[in-house]
């Protein structure tokens, strides 16, 4: 069966698992095209007005897949870390899509929740497998293959500081799988500028939404650090500085990474926070971040809000000014 996976939202975290799992079950995984003008336009047309940019874009990816697949995969992601949530919109994502887009193929909307414990991922796999009509023996086998690959990919991502960035049509996972375990990240010299790029993976790694932010930074000789390549234990250590535990995983990653770098005396030349307009969690997280950073004024901070009307020119100007600032500081 051809299973459609939208190249949006949690694709940037879970694709290695989903792809391996579906293929182990003997299905073909069809990925939607990288975000483009048409996908954005379709997303704007179908999604509810009040949704944020990444959710609208997700709707566009669904439209892109409708004609090409037998089944659509729209998991209901509730929690990806024990005791934590993600944005409420993910909890209702399959419902939003079903009521907004007509003539959809069958949908697999299995829950993914590790809120109670990490076994949630097996449950997730079982529920997908059962929906596809496989025996539990085969499902378990496929799960083992997929979770092993997924875990080693996550380790590889951190140890090689490999950002989940697609290159052209190829997904980040496919283009990396040949490197897997032998590729070593270029060891950058002392003079490289280090920038901590904060934001939800589906915003910062989507080249269309982020207007190639990562590539633009890298072209300027900047080493981009994101929460995805920071070891989990460091993020948790950083997040401990909060008075109250933050209950959104992505928000915790943002705040935790910042605190970790600020408090452990790691050299940073700048921090960028990319958020989408109307993002609920980021309105809170961004505020805490800005207040923390503006109190000690040690690192230049750039906050960018994006929405469907963002123009690339203004974006570039702000980015260039920011790069000038951090380069100037380094020279002095």
């Amino acid at each position: 069966m051809r299973i459609g996976v939208p190249r949006a939202l949690f694709y940037y975290m879970y694709y290695p698992f989903w792809k391996t799992f579906f293929e182990a079950l003997g299905h073909e995984v069809i990925l939607s095209s990288p975000t483009n003008k048409k996908i954005l336009k379709d997303g704007l047309e179908f999604a509810v007005d009040d949704a944020c940019l990444p959710v609208k874009v997700f709707h566009g990816h669904i439209v892109d897949l409708i004609e090409k697949v037998d089944v659509l995969f729209i998991p209901r992601i509730i929690s990806i870390e024990p005791g934590e949530f993600i944005c409420p919109k993910f909890l209702g994502l399959p419902d939003m899509v079903k009521s907004s887009i007509p003539d959809l193929p069958p949908i697999i909307d299995s829950n993914l929740s590790v809120y109670k414990n990490r076994k949630g991922l097996i449950e997730h796999a079982k529920s997908i497998g059962t929906d596809l009509g496989h025996s539990s023996k085969l499902i378990l086998k496929a799960y083992k293959i997929a979770s092993t690959k997924f875990n080693s990919y996550k380790k590889f991502q951190i140890s090689h500081e490999k950002l989940p960035l697609d290159s052209g049509q190829k997904s980040f996972f496919d283009s990396n799988s040949s490197y897997f375990s032998r590729h070593k990240n270029k060891c950058l010299g002392e003079n490289t500028l280090n920038v901590l790029l904060l934001g939800h993976p589906y915003n910062i790694y989507d080249n269309y939404i982020s207007m190639n932010l990562i590539t633009k930074l890298q072209k300027n000789g900047i080493k981009v650090i994101t929460p995805e390549i920071i070891p989990v234990k460091n993020i948790s250590a950083g997040a401990k500085n909060l008075k109250k535990r933050l209950f959104w995983t992505l928000g915790k990653n943002i705040i935790g990474s910042t605190y970790y770098y600020m408090d452990c005396g790691k050299a940073l030349d700048g921090i960028i926070h990319l958020a989408s307009f109307g993002c609920g969690p980021d309105s809170i997280v961004g505020e805490l971040l800005e207040r923390k950073l503006s109190r000690n004024r040690l690192v230049p901070f750039l906050r960018i809000n994006i929405d469907e009307h963002s123009g690339e020119e203004g974006f570039n100007t702000r980015l260039e000014a920011f790069i000038d600032v951090i380069e100037g500081r380094r020279r002095n």
């Binding site: 949704a51 505020e287 805490l288």
Partner: protein, 368 residues
């Protein structure tokens, strides 16, 4: 210690009673106003939702009046409300205020934690004293809820315009000033007398509209432009889906004391939103289905701009509205909302449902 808390509709009445009966000095912030909103917005993050901004304004106004201890509710997500207090504390700190902030987290198995915090606020009063103060406050909440329900029914049919609201104001004062249960019982009788003396028109085809949505925008008349009163003035009987007593039951009581009612209700939303989506998103949908089944003529859905759970609800509303054949109108509220715009849309909505109702009845008469 001078205790203060945020406004949400009439919540200040039982809260003041509770803290005063425990011997704390209470500073009730001025009722939310344009000024509250202005200062709240000035210092809040731009994309935060409206309740954060208005309650921040409440806190600043209370601190200006000399309050030094803020009592605020917390939460465990995924709705933003659970992190309000953390952000508001940082903002107020940066503004240079000197205060203590006590956050009452929902007692997920930590009911004693809540009692401990009350003990701290109230200077180590005994459990019994806390219980007694809580009991009176709770009785006030129940009476307030009942009063609001009555007023929303009568306003639509009052013969003398404004009579109901006069009685309502008087009743609020009576409840607010009652110092013990005896006085509250007396107030209850007074109120019943007052309300029953309002002359009512005999209206057979009264329009019925349900109000659903995010709790703060439903309960705080300042941010929803007193929508219940406005609908009443348009001759519409209003029923609101959330009352303070429900919120307290769901959020502050230990789980074994909770009623099963919300779970039963949530079942109604299953075909559209089968699982919890934070806040009252799923409940809003369930309430609409429930109103449709009860034969209401329309539903109004309120939410603050960028409210995550209600956006999920909003996206399935067209389907719910179509399947259950009930008109639903959504109002998204923020600091730029204007009363005139809301009024115009309300009038249009009421016209629409009135026409629809007449058509239906005409259909029945002519045997269609």
């Amino acid at each position: 210690m001078k205790v203060t808390f945020p406004h949400m509709g009439n919540l200040y009445i039982p809260l003041r009673t509770f803290f005063e009966n425990l011997g704390a000095e209470v500073v009730v912030p001025p009722l939310s106003s344009k000024r509250t909103l202005e200062i709240g917005c000035k210092y809040s993050p731009e994309f935060a939702c409206l309740p954060l901004k208005v309650t921040l304004g409440n806190f600043i106004e209370a601190l200006e009046m000399g309050a030094d201890t803020i009592v605020m509710a917390g939460g465990v997500g995924p709705c933003r409300f659970g992190y309000y207090a953390e952000v508001q504390r940082e903002i107020l700190k940066d503004l240079g205020y000197d205060f203590d902030m006590i956050v009452l987290e929902p007692p997920q198995g930590h009911f004693w934690d809540l009692i401990k915090k009350f003990k701290y606020i109230t200077n180590k009063k005994s459990f019994k004293e806390i219980y007694l103060a809580g009991k009176l406050a709770w009785k006030k909440i129940i009476l307030l809820d009942r009063l609001e329900k009555m007023v929303n029914r009568i306003r639509a049919v009052e013969l003398e315009k404004g009579k109901t609201d006069k009685a309502y104001k008087k009743a609020l004062n009576l409840i607010s000033n009652a110092r013990d249960e005896q006085e509250l019982a007396f107030a209850r009788q007074q109120i019943a007398k007052e309300i029953s003396s309002i002359k009512k028109a005999k209206e057979r085809n009264l329009l019925k509209v349900g109000l659903v949505g995010e709790i703060y925008t439903l309960l705080e008349p300042f941010v929803n432009f007193n929508i219940e009163k406005q609908l009443g003035e348009l001759g519409v009987l209003v029923e609101r889906s959330i009352y303070i007593s429900q919120w307290v039951r769901e959020n502050l009581l230990p789980s074994f004391m909770k009623s099963k009612e919300p779970e039963v209700l949530a079942k109604l939303a299953e075909p559209y939103i089968p699982c919890f989506v934070g806040g009252h998103g799923r409940e809003s949908v369930a309430q609409i289905v429930s109103y449709a089944k009860q034969g209401f003529d329309g539903v109004i859905h309120l939410l603050p701009l960028t409210c995550m759970p209600e956006i999920v609800a909003k996206s399935v509303l067209p389907m719910v509205s179509k399947i259950h054949s009930i008109p639903v109108m959504t109002f998204v509220l923020d600091e730029h909302s204007a009363e005139t715009g809301l009024r115009t849309r309300l009038e249009a909505f009421v016209d629409l449902i009135r026409e629809r109702k007449e058509e239906k009845e005409f259909g029945v008469l002519s045997g269609d």
